[in-house]
């Protein structure tokens, strides 16, 4: 009897759905992927949907009570839960909003529209990554994700291997690209604390790294801040840099300090 293929379903929460688009755009590799797994749900490319799946691949961050409910249901159904992209892994750019009280943000965007009262779609709380609500088994970081990395993680998952996500800074990838360091060009970059695996795609194309893949497990944040100060980056600018994709770490640090 032929072994049954694992069933994969894609889901999205607060996100641009760009990471799923990366998968829809896998080109030739799509054929390989569909040979390996049965895709039972994928809103971007198909109408069908099934709640019978083994692997749930989830894009997006959690913003409202209704999201929590839905995510918990998915967790219950799935054997393996994959957080896809920066929104799911760390909260991405929408986490910047956590710097302000939720009511203020809602008021700033929607004014005081009475239609929002008791509307569950607008019952926002502070942005959360998936693992702040449920257990996440596999993380595929990035904004958007790297297609090759998605394929490598999928292969590892099917082999029962640890997902091959690097835990060293982007600088390693960047040197391999023989880039001139952006700091040498008097620009700033989050590369020294950001998790590699993207092939340093932004610095390679002349943009600074904004750490969309999150930090390495043990980022040398203090040393990095010292470098930024050495390059005369103002505290405000440093804060901006660190809030773009990685406000989660600022929140966690503040929380840890309070607990101490």
């Amino acid at each position: 009897m032929k072994k049954q293929k694992p069933r994969v379903a894609f889901f999205d929460f607060a996100s641009c759905e760009g990471c799923q688009l990366q998968i829809a755009n896998l080109e030739e590799a799509v054929i390989d992927v569909t040979k390996l797994v049965d895709i039972v749900s994928f809103r971007e490319v198909m109408k069908e949907h099934s709640d019978d799946y083994d692997i749930a691949v989830i894009e997006g961050s959690i913003m409202r009570p209704m999201d929590v409910e839905r995510l918990k249901k998915i967790r219950k159904n799935a054997k393996v839960l994959v957080a896809l992209g920066a929104c799911a892994c760390i909260g991405c750019v929408q986490r910047m909003v956590n710097q302000w009280p939720v009511e203020e943000s809602i008021a700033a965007v929607y004014d005081k529209d009475p239609a929002l009262n008791d509307n569950p779609y607008f019952a926002n709380f502070k942005t959360k990554a998936l693992d702040e609500v449920v257990t996440v088994d596999v993380y595929i970081p990035g904004c958007p994700i790297d297609r090759d990395e998605f394929c490598n993680v999928l292969a590892a998952l099917l082999q029962g291997k640890k997902p091959p996500i690097p835990d060293y800074p982007v600088c390693v990838d960047c040197k391999k690209k023989e880039n001139v360091c952006l700091y040498e060009l008097s620009r700033v970059c989050m590369g020294p604390v950001a998790r590699a695996g993207c092939g340093a795609i932004c610095p390679t194309h002349g943009s600074e790294c904004e750490a969309c893949r999150g930090y390495v497990t043990h980022p040398e944040e203090d040393a990095h801040t010292e470098v930024l100060e050495k390059y005369e980056i103002s505290a405000e600018q440093i804060m901006q840099l660190k809030s773009m994709f990685t406000y989660r770490y600022i929140e966690e640090k503040a929380k840890a300090e309070v607990e101490q």
Binding site: D32, L36, A155, C171, K175, C181, V227
Partner: protein, 655 residues
């Protein structure tokens, strides 16, 4: 023509030729058009320079100061396929494809020295055939430094001028190009070029240009490289280490851009067909936090200060002692590219020199020759260093929740021919390779590996059954020296999975019982359910020629235990042995050594009677990848079995 080959360097007689600039450009263009050859050279990139494929002679920038990364990428590629595999076959591995013939144009002398150091490193005791095949297929066209980069100090290091290590060496004499012919291959390369012999004036001009560059690349290094080793040995605790490493980003830039950092990592990449794939190696660096991490999670150089110090001691002390060269050529790449500006060797060595306790007396300890571009002859080798031999699983035995025993036979019918204490590199294609101690005594055709499930390879191994195939390289490393122990009293102290390698020795002794004196085995584990080889252990109890005591750290309710409860050290006072005439073998988790050794020494055992076996990340098994290094010692080669007295002073041995 008066040429010479690289095996018989005779620098005084290197012919010096002169070629017109336009002829030189035409020569380059003809090389580029030659499809049997890849032509690489220095090109500009943004505000800097890189080595890359040349599309025309115009692209070549012989006036460059330094490249972003060194030409080591041609010999140890950024990503290199070591072999291909197909897991749909029982065991199918194929060497990776041949490498192209290549010429690299514009290599500065300091980089030539680095390449020769790399030659020495990659051919020392085990010849790395992947390295050698690239090296042998590459012609090196050097160039006299025309512009010295701001942070370069090759003048201080004596690496600004070389008389060998290149096939051709160019010097730009403005209106003409001078070509020094270093090898026959170099002479062949320019055979069709219209050249004439240099005049004495031109030869003098070349010499002056070289000397000028070397003189310009001096930055006031206060301790000359040949004295670095001595300086470092006396300054393990110098405050400069902390001052500097506190600023370290652990970003790996310094090791990536260094021409004398040779370490690499290996991983298996499976294609999406889930059948075929490649074992890949890529650059790795000791400044990255996970560099020394083993399967169980332990990181042996976890602190930045330890990693930072290791980088310099490797360059200034460990490699000089081992291979007779200082592994820094003064290119200044790390100095330029380190953004917190802590990687510069001149700054660091000057800081240490200024605060050194022994400013006055600093003799040369190792007769190091940092100025050498001499390397080994690159002889051809048929041996595939990294390709494993197929072996078949004959038997699988459940040992505990986490450990299984695998009996294996090599498919070529040979015996493993190991010594108790040695290890093998076990491969499961698509999953990777892991160092595993051999657990059986030498002798029969088959051998046994007892394996704890911790990482990808070992977890996969646990899923395999008799008849399945794995790959084996080795045996590697040192053993317990069982044959030399004949007549001696032996005391084995094994903690947890430390019983696995020591079982090999115990069984060897039991097989040759009359050749040895008393045998005492002290075996401790965390909980009763973690006791391995329980059947054999019970047999030891029954024998009157073995004394066996065992302990568990704790005994949870519901489990039964016949033995002591407490840490393994609680067994030492209970054992009767004559400390003066007994050899002790201590193997266990890192935390165990300090306490067990202390108790043995307190009991009156001379330190030289204590033998240990240590765990480190032995990724390649042949002293190349760098992960298992413990100070200057490669645990995979000089260990894992050591005399305690020989390593007790290594700061990194017992953390």
């Amino acid at each position: 023509m008066n040429t010479k080959n690289e095996h018989n360097p005779n620098p005084d007689k290197n012919p010096l030729k002169i070629v017109l600039k336009k002829d030189f450009a035409a020569f380059l263009d003809s090389l580029i058009e030659d499809e049997s050859l890849e032509v690489h050279g220095v090109k500009s990139k943004d505000t800097k320079f890189v080595f890359g494929p040349l599309e025309s002679a115009d692209e070549l920038r012989l006036d460059y100061d330094v490249t972003v990364i060194p030409p080591k990428k041609y010999f140890l590629p950024l990503y290199e396929s070591m072999m291909h595999f197909d897991v749909s076959q029982p065991f199918w591995v194929q060497a990776s494809e041949d490498v192209p013939k290549r010429v690299i144009i514009g290599v500065h002398p300091y980089d030539i020295v680095a390449i020769r150091q790399m030659d020495t490193y990659y051919t020392d005791s085990f010849v790395d055939d992947l390295y050698v095949r690239r090296r042998k297929n590459t012609l090196i066209v050097g160039v006299t430094v025309a512009n010295v980069s701001e942070k370069a100090f090759f003048g201080d290091m004596g690496t600004g001028i070389v008389d060998s290590g290149f096939d051709l060496m160019l010097t730009d004499l403005e209106d003409v190009m001078a070509l020094e012919v270093g090898t026959e291959a170099g002479a062949d390369l320019i055979a069709k070029v219209h050249t004439r012999d240099a005049t004495p004036e031109e030869a003098d001009k070349v010499r002056r240009k070289r000397e000028h560059a070397a003189a310009a690349a001096r930055r006031g290094l206060k301790t000359p490289p040949e004295q670095w080793s001595h300086l470092l040995q006396r300054n393990h605790d110098n405050p400069a280490w902390k001052t500097q490493s506190d600023k370290c980003l652990s970003c790996g830039t310094c090791t990536s851009v260094c021409p004398t950092c040779f370490c690499y990592d290996v991983s298996d990449k499976m294609h999406l067909d889930m059948k075929t794939g490649s074992r890949m190696r890529t650059w790795d660096g000791c400044m990255l936090r996970g560099f020394t991490q083993v399967g169980s999670g332990e990181i042996f150089r976890e602190k930045r200060i330890d990693r930072y110090r290791h980088r310099f001691r490797r360059k200034g002390e460990y490699l000089p002692a081992r291979l007779n060269f200082v592994a820094c050529v003064g290119c200044g790449r790390c100095s330029t590219q380190c953004i917190p500006d802590i990687a510069d060797p001149v700054t660091l060595f000057n800081m240490i020199t200024e605060s050194s306790r022994e400013l006055e007396e600093r003799p040369v300890l190792h007769p190091v020759s940092p100025i050498t571009a001499k390397g080994p002859a690159l002889s051809s080798t048929d041996r595939d260093l990294y390709i494993p031999r197929p072996a078949t699983i004959k038997r699988v035995e459940h040992l505990s929740e986490w450990e299984k025993l695998f009996e294996l036979e090599l498919d070529d019918g040979s015996t493993l021919d190991h010594e108790p204490g040695q290890f093998v590199e076990l491969s499961i294609m698509g999953y990777g390779e892991a160092p595993i101690s051999v657990s059986s005594a030498p002798g029969p055709k088959s051998f046994e590996l007892a394996v704890r499930k911790v990482g990808d390879v070992t977890s996969r191994l646990h899923e395999l059954s008799p008849g399945d195939k794995v790959g084996i390289r080795g045996p590697f490393g040192t053993g317990f020296g069982a044959r030399a122990l004949e007549g001696k009293n032996l005391l084995v102290i094994a903690g947890g999975i430390g019983i696995i390698p020591t079982r090999s020795l115990i069984n060897y002794v039991l097989d040759h019982r009359q050749d040895f004196g008393e045998l005492t085995v002290l075996y401790g584990c965390k909980k009763p359910c973690e006791l391995l080889f329980s059947k054999e252990v019970t047999e030891w109890d029954k024998r009157d020629d073995v004394t066996h005591l065992r302990s568990v750290d704790s005994c949870p309710e519901g489990e039964c235990w016949e033995g002591e409860v407490g840490l393994i050290t609680c067994l030492i006072p209970l054992a009767t042995f004559d400390p003066k005439t007994t050899i002790a073998f201590v193997v266990g988790p890192p935390v165990m050594y300090k306490f067990v050794i202390r108790d043995l020494v307190n009991r009156g055992m001379p330190e030289e009677n204590i033998i240990v076996s240590l765990e480190r990340r032995m990724k390649c098994g042949v002293g190349k990848c760098g992960h298992c290094q413990m100070n200057g010692v490669y645990v995979c080669k000089e260990g894992p079995v050591f005399k305690y007295s020989e390593i007790k002073n290594l700061p990194e041995a017992f953390t």
